[in-house]
């Protein structure tokens, strides 16, 4: 058993876009569906952060299936050019839990150019926030254009930051063509069900 024998979902996106909030929604739903899930968070800053992360999934995921991986202040390298330390962590998961179904790999917060190495993630979600500016999709960053699913989060903040959701939707359709995207508010859970459906369909039943 090794990293090649388990489904891997990558979650990338800029700092503060809601990657962790999405992981916190996604993991319980996957566990509820009967999956054994592992979680890797890149660039947690202290051991205390790692402990908090383990506590938040305490009833859902065994402690030895939650791991923090430091990427030497190079979050994009850790998921793209050299994912070896993330793959090593997944190998350790599969050695301890041979029946593992899926591993969620959350990238450290990065820029719009971050994409996942296809050997690290079978399916790659990119999370942006409307509060980062309504022009994010039309900048055509590789993360936005190449992700298997684009998640546009914090829709509740749109009126407070002069972001027009219609403009974001129009630009996203233009830059992504037929590739899917979902509007979410991970805080209250709206749109998250649709994200889970995509992951279910494209990863777990693929």
């Amino acid at each position: 058993m090794g990293y090649r024998d388990v489904a891997k979902v990558g979650i990338g996106g800029p700092v503060g876009s809601g990657k962790t909030a999405l992981v916190r929604r996604l993991v319980p739903a996957l566990v509820e569906d009967g999956n054994e899930v592992g979680v890797i968070a890149n660039d947690i800053m202290t051991q205390e952060d790692a402990d908090v992360f383990r506590e938040s999934f305490a009833d859902l995921v065994p402690a030895d299936l939650v791991e923090g991986v430091e990427t030497g202040a190079c979050p994009h390298t850790g998921i793209r050019e050299d994912p070896s330390m993330n793959l090593a962590a997944i190998d350790e998961f599969t050695e301890r839990h041979p029946d593992l179904d899926v591993v969620i790999v959350e990238s450290g917060g990065d820029n719009l150019a971050a994409t996942f190495n296809p050997e690290l993630a079978d399916y790659f979600l990119f999370v942006i926030s409307v509060a980062e500016g309504e022009d994010i999709p039309r900048k055509r960053g590789p993360g936005v254009t190449q992700a298997d699913l684009l998640v546009i989060n914090k829709t509740d903040l749109a009126p407070h930051v002069d972001a027009d959701l219609d403009v974001i939707e129009r630009d996203t359709t233009e830059v992504r063509g037929d590739d899917p995207f979902v509007f979410t508010n991970c805080k209250d859970g709206s749109g998250v069900g649709e994200v889970i459906s995509h992951v279910d369909r494209e990863v777990l039943f693929a």
């Binding site: 660039d43 202290t46 051991q47 991986v69 430091e70 030497g72 202040a73 050299d82 090593a88």
Partner: protein
């Protein structure tokens, strides 16, 4: 004697941060020195890295690499495993051991196991060489040996015909550039200042490799108590961007 072109390219490949073995995640205690404000300028950095070279990279890792190289040339797996075991025993901080064994396992995957798949050996010597590389990769994969980075590095170098001293120089150089890169990401060092520190350390790299390339495996030792304490404190540091 001139280095063969293929071996020279192997040296470049092994010394390049492009090699995907996770080297950029290791600081070998440097992050903790910076967390504790013990490294503030280029002079501090130069002094620290010179000490790493003289007390760890030379008498410990270079000795391991050189002896692993010799064991690989002789096709002596038991000797190689003894080198690996000794390096494991003399590397005290847990995170130093983990950074080294994780990178070693990835180097095995990328350059020993990965490139052996496909292609029949040309002759008996080629088959022996491939057989040894496969045996090492298998032993590491099955956790029968820790698979430290300098040990696997020595096997790869021997396998590709890179001479022992050149292999040791390549390893020591990449150790230094790896830590200088880490220092730039953690502190505030200019790129020209970093290049000056690197240039100043080149004679040290040369001296420690020449001094230790012929050492017996029993001489393998490291003496860097403060670096080891920094490595251990890093386990519960207030800031951790690096795995070690």
């Amino acid at each position: 004697m001139e280095t063969e072109p293929g071996a020279f390219l192997t040296a470049l490949r092994l010394g390049d941060s492009f090699l995907p073995v996770g080297g950029y995640t290791a600081s070998y205690g440097l992050e903790q020195y910076i967390n504790e404000d013990r490294i503030e300028d280029g002079d501090d950095l130069r002094a620290l890295l010179a000490a790493y070279l003289r007390r760890v990279v030379g008498p410990c890792e270079t000795v391991a690499l050189a002896n692993a190289h010799a064991a690989a040339r002789a096709g002596d797996l038991d000797r190689l495993l003894a080198v690996d075991e000794r390096l494991h025993a003399v590397t005290m901080p847990r995170e130093f051991r983990e950074s080294s064994t994780k990178a070693g396992a990835k180097l095995c995957e990328v350059l020993l196991a990965g490139e052996l798949e496909g292609g029949e050996p040309d002759d008996e010597a080629d088959a022996d060489r491939e057989g040894f590389a496969t045996a090492v990769a298998d032993a590491v994969d099955r956790d029968e040996t820790p698979g430290h980075y300098p040990v696997v590095f020595g096997v790869v170098a021997a396998d590709r015909g890179l001479p022992r001293l050149e292999a040791c120089l390549t390893h020591a150089y990449s150790f230094v550039t790896g830590l200088l890169g880490a220092a730039q990401r953690l502190g505030r060092f200019g790129h020209t200042e970093i290049q000056t520190v690197l240039a100043d350390l080149e004679p040290v790299i040369e001296a420690v490799c020449e001094r230790h390339v012929d050492d017996d495996v029993a001489a393998m030792t490291s003496f860097a108590p403060l670096a080891e304490i920094m490595g251990m404190r890093h386990e519960r540091a207030g800031r951790r961007l690096f795995m070690s």
